[in-house]
Subunit: 97 residues, 4 copies
């Protein structure tokens, strides 16, 4: 199970980025993966890394289509093959759910 | 308002990290800041950057005290001076709350 | 032009990670992209985002093949469509080359 | 030994960020730490975490003073207590120096 978090934002469009983040989240959801928006990025869950990258590429394309001329992406991935830990189980394991 | 997300984890202690993450979150909470654990990191809110750094230092110290010999920290900060946007307002602005 | 930086490391294999980082860098180089190892990550340059992701996937696969059971990936991407800025030009623009 | 990499950039000032990155690097250098600008961030070396945070705070303040109204910071830290590995030794250990 792969759990990841991505932030995508364009430079050069002002300090309010919500319009672009909305487009990115919509594109991530359209990928069919489990998607959970969090305050500093959107959490994605997939069975393989390629699906995560495909979803992030769609989100990038959506921000580009919305007018982003310089797009910053930060992606963190936790790829576990020792056990099948979802985002929810990660929180449960530290006593937060 | 500063919104940040931090992940702290030790290498060299096996693949299960929840014991260390719990210690880190406990130390972050002890800092007095608003703390929200998320699947890929813990969100912090503060009025200034120094308070964020002080909290992360405590969390690092807690993981060190728990036996971490090589500690990896990833920190993302969104420091806004144009408006007072909390973590909750960030989610609300993209229609997710 | 897309400039990116990736760090890939497995948890649970001890505190010395150089064997795994070497495999990752070798796989990144095999992708055919321009690859520059830096102290905290490896810089990649490509004309499109998909090539970056393909290279990172190969690097992940190499760390997996080397025995990584829980693999952490951090990827930062600077995707510019306003001008064609290479990694070298980024350093030159701040007077560092 | 702590090796870290920081990227600092303001949103809302256009797509060209070199003016701000220059100010940030100048402030990092003024901290007295060993500072190495790389294409996707600036590498810092210090004997303790607090010195890293102090330097990043100065860099943030410099970008704020230069007019940044919304400042994004990404910081990665590798804090090793098992051995004394500098940024140079990290590269040497993977055969890149």
């Amino acid at each position: 199970m792969i759990v990841a978090e991505v932030s995508i934002a364009p430079f050069g469009v002002g300090t309010s980025l919500s319009r672009y983040v909305k487009e990115a989240v919509k594109a991530l959801r359209a990928s069919g993966l489990k998607v959970t928006p969090c305050p500093m990025g959107t959490v994605l869950e997939a069975s393989d890394l390629a699906s995560i990258f495909k979803a992030v590429e769609r989100a990038h394309d959506a921000v580009r289509a919305a007018g982003g001329e310089r797009i910053s992406i930060t992606l963190k991935v936790d790829a576990r093959y020792d056990k099948d830990a979802s985002a929810e189980e990660k929180l449960r394991s530290i006593g937060e759910l």
